[in-house]
Subunit: 234 residues, 2 copies
Amino acid sequence: MAAAAPPPPPSPTPAVISEDLLPTGYNVFSRIRLATIVDVPHIHKLIHQMAVFERLTHLFSATESSLSSTLFPENSPPPFTSFTVFLLEVSQIPFPLIDQNYPNFSPIHKTVNLDLPITDPQAETFRSCGNDVVVAGFVLFFPNYSSFLAKPGFYIEDIFVRECYRRKGFGKMLLSAVAAQAAKMGYGRVEWVVLDWNVNAIKFYEEMGAQIMQEWRVCRLTGDALHAFASINI
Amino acid sequence: MAAAAPPPPPSPTPAVISEDLLPTGYNVFSRIRLATIVDVPHIHKLIHQMAVFERLTHLFSATESSLSSTLFPENSPPPFTSFTVFLLEVSQIPFPLIDQNYPNFSPIHKTVNLDLPITDPQAETFRSCGNDVVVAGFVLFFPNYSSFLAKPGFYIEDIFVRECYRRKGFGKMLLSAVAAQAAKMGYGRVEWVVLDWNVNAIKFYEEMGAQIMQEWRVCRLTGDALHAFASINI
């Protein structure tokens, strides 16, 4: 508890303050919280923007309904035990406290100081709870398992920051939120994939201490091939 | 329902049967079932053998206790919603029926006919429930998620068949059991990784219809780097 405050000093005479002593730039308040089923329309739009960015819209078939039923099924398991979405929100004013304190997670707040204000042409589309809150990105992850360590880890399936919020540290903030959650839960690893020609991303990941597993290739069985193979032998 | 059988014909006079009409070879009865906590000592030995095979024993730190608590925690979720192990067992005699019929899985049986009997020097070590039953391999998998499809899939972390049981179709049987389970549950994909120099494995996977995702690299954050990155920014 804070000690009782001393009486305020007498107000100084107002004076002209040199401009270079004024606080410079613009504060953006950001928060990472667990997404809920109410956020699905925003999550759907974010995933679609990611598909556009990756030029993979021909592979995109998610709907709000299919996302709701798979990410937030009835009798959802506790956070972090299955598919989990962290939502990144930004605001011009500080965030109020919200009632989202799970036993092993509380929302993460960070104030970012920028030289220029951010102009968000889609602010209305991504308006979140609260007049001044806008959804700026997300990370979708779920537990994986290392049998050598006999420990769970997290696998990051998607990490995405909307265009006007990029290059401001928000991607790193989302990644470190997942790493922090893994460390807090005693998990052994965080893993994800990157395209081999994306040298900037690879450099960034290496600088943050990640290993790039050069020898491993992902194998995928899907569509007709999955069903054909599923029906052999048994 | 089958029609009533006609009366049997009179027994023919016993005759010498030419040897090449006799059934040849040796039958091996095999079964894939869900592993339980009772199987942990076998799973632990199988994972260790896999680490020896991959020359990665320096990364192996699993114990029976840590496997038990992470693969089969108290209040385990239903099969297939988290980390799941299929165990491959073999026997010289047909398997009795076991009470392991979950709503979405029943044990899978297959009879394999071989030219020569299998000599298993570790049969005693891997003796399973029932005198004639031996554990021959396993596959460890868990759900993953495709946000473009808005569908879960399965990720195969480990697939392993003990040396004396290899090149008899058991690996394919384990893989197709996971593919069949994915198809049955309406899942979109089965994925795993392979070492890029393992050309035989890659050929096998491509022949079964899998795509090898040449452009993707796995990134891993673990150990001190995980904890360092977890503590930044937040």
